[in-house]
Subunit: 242 residues, 2 copies
DNA sequence: GCCTGTTTTATGTCTATACATAATTTATGT
DNA sequence: ACATAAATTATGTATAGACATAAAACAGGC
C-alpha cells in the first residue's frame, strides 16, 4: 500500500492494489487472484467491500469471475483503443489557435435525392445538406460535408450554422444511440481548392454517422489535409503489446 | 419492464431500465434521475441494490453523481469512440482471406542509432528493427516498420518472425501498461513498391507505441494503401450527435 | 448586500448476515 | 468402470441498518 492511498476508501484501495498488480505485470492475464474470503481477511473487511472492488474491475474489463473457480485477470483478445474524436471547434481552440467557420453551402433536399450510401432518411423526409470549412488561425483545417435529417432534428432547419459549427450544435442538442466511424485516406480531389492544397495531396477522411434507434440523425464526411492533423489516442490499460 | 427482463437480477433490471431510458432519449444528458430512496420505493428493494445498479452506470460513464444534489445523466464533452485495432493477421483472417507474412528485413541496432522520434530505448540497449509485409490473398495489405526494445523483450531476439507476425507475437507474449496510437494520411513514398501502388497514392498510416511503465516496448508504423482498408468503429452509447 | 456558520439531505462507504446458483469434487449404486 | 447423486465451495444477489461526507439551502449578523 502506498502512502498516497490514505485518502482512498477501502474498496478503492483494494481495487487500486489489484489494478496496480495487473498493470505492472505482477498479475498476468489468466492468473487467479485471491478468493474473496482471503482478501476479506487480508484487508479486515466485509465481503461486500471486497465484492464491490472486484465488481468494478469486472466492469472495467480487467477481471473475469467464474463461480466456484475464482476470479481471474482478463485476457484481452482484441485490443480496444479509446480514440477521442472531439468536436473540431474544441480541437482547434484546444491547440491555442483561433477558430473560424465558413458555411459554403446550405440546401434542403428531398429524401429521395440523398445518396443512400450516406444516409437513408425515412420516405418523404427532408434533409439539410451543409458544406462547411473550418479554419485554424485563418488556415483551412478541415472541410466537412454534412447531412442532417430534418425528420429527426426539425430544429436544425432554424439553426444558424454560419456561427456555430453543425457538429457543435448537434453535440449539444441531439442525443444519439448508435454511431459509426470510418477512417480512410484518399487524395484531396475536388475539395482540394477549399483546403488550399494540391489535388493529389493525401488526406485523412473521417466518416461519421449517428442514429437514434432506427432513425438516422446525421452523416458527416470531414476531410483533413494530411499534414498537420493527426488523430491521437493515448491510454493506459492492460493487454498484449502488439 | 419488458418481458425478457424476468431472467435478470433486480439490480440488472434497474440498470437496464435506466440505461434504456438514456439510450432512447427519454432521459437526456443533464437530467436528474430519481433519488435512490425513490427508486428503492419503486422497486421495493434495499438501497444497496439501487446503489449497485447506479454504480455500474457511473462506471460505464452514463451517469454522474453529486452528493446532496442527486444522480444525473452524463454530458459527454469529448466524444470517445471505441476503435478496435486488432492484430492484422486476425483482421485478414476475419475477412475470410488467406494471410501471408513476408519478413523483408531484420537488424539489431544500438540504442544510439534509433530515431528518438520513434523510440527512446535505455542507454546501451539493443533494438530489433523489422520490416514486414502483410498479404491478404496474395495482395499487399500493409507494410510495417517495427522497433522492439530487446531490453524490454529479450525473448524477441530468438523469435522466428518469418512465420508469426511480430504484432501477434507481442500481443501474446508481452503486456503493456501504456500505449499511444496516431493515425495520419500520407503519400506512399518509398514504401510504394512494397505495397504495389503508385508513389503518390494516399495511404493510411498507423503509428503505435507501447510502454510498460517507463520502458518502451515497441514502436510500429503500419502503412495501409488507401483503397481497401478502412478503420471502422461501430458502437452503441449515448452522447451528443456531433 | 455580503459573509458567516448551521442544518438538511443525498450520496459514499461499510457491516454482518442470508440464501441462491453454478461448477467442481466426492461419494455412491449398479 | 461408469453413470448418478450428494456435498462442497466461490461467487451472485440481496437485506437492513449505521455512520461519514460534501454540497446545497437556510439562517443570522455585519
Amino acid at each position: 500500500m502506498s502512502l498516497d492511498d490514505i485518502t482512498l476508501s477501502l474498496h478503492a484501495r483494494i481495487r487500486a492494489d489489484i489494478e496496480g498488480a495487473i498493470l505492472s505485470g505482477t498479475l498476468r492475464p489468466g492468473d487467479r487472484i485471491p478468493f474473496e474470503h482471503e482478501l476479506m481477511a487480508r484487508y479486515g473487511c466485509a465481503r461486500m467491500t471486497v465484492n464491490k472492488a472486484l465488481s468494478g474491475l469486472v466492469e472495467a474489463g480487467l477481471l473475469e469471475r467464474r463461480r466456484r473457480a475464482g476470479t481471474f485477470v482478463s485476457r484481452p483478445q482484441i485490443h480496444m483503443a479509446a480514440l477521442a474524436i472531439p468536436d473540431i471547434q474544441a480541437e482547434v481552440t484546444g491547440r491555442g489557435q483561433i477558430y473560424r467557420l465558413e458555411l459554403l453551402s446550405r440546401d434542403v433536399l428531398p429524401a429521395a435525392s440523398v445518396d443512400p450510401e450516406r444516409m437513408r432518411p425515412p420516405r418523404g423526409a427532408k434533409v439539410l445538406s451543409l458544406t462547411c470549412r473550418h479554419l485554424a488561425d485563418g488556415v483551412p483545417f478541415a472541410v466537412e460535408e454534412r447531412l442532417i435529417s430534418l425528420k429527426a432534428v426539425p430544429e436544425a432547419a432554424m439553426a444558424d450554422f454560419t456561427t456555430v459549427a453543425p457538429g457543435s450544435w448537434l453535440l449539444a442538442h441531439v442525443p444519439w444511440t448508435e454511431a459509426e466511424h470510418r477512417i480512410t485516406a484518399a487524395a484531396a480531389g475536388r475539395l482540394a481548392g477549399a483546403l488550399d492544397v494540391d489535388e493529389g495531396t493525401a488526406c485523412l477522411i473521417l466518416d461519421r454517422r449517428t442514429w437514434r434507434g432506427d432513425q438516422p440523425i446525421t452523416h458527416v464526411r470531414q476531410v483533413f489535409p494530411g499534414a498537420g492533423f493527426d488523430l491521437v489516442a493515448r491510454f493506459t490499460g492492460a493487454g498484449g503489446a502488439g
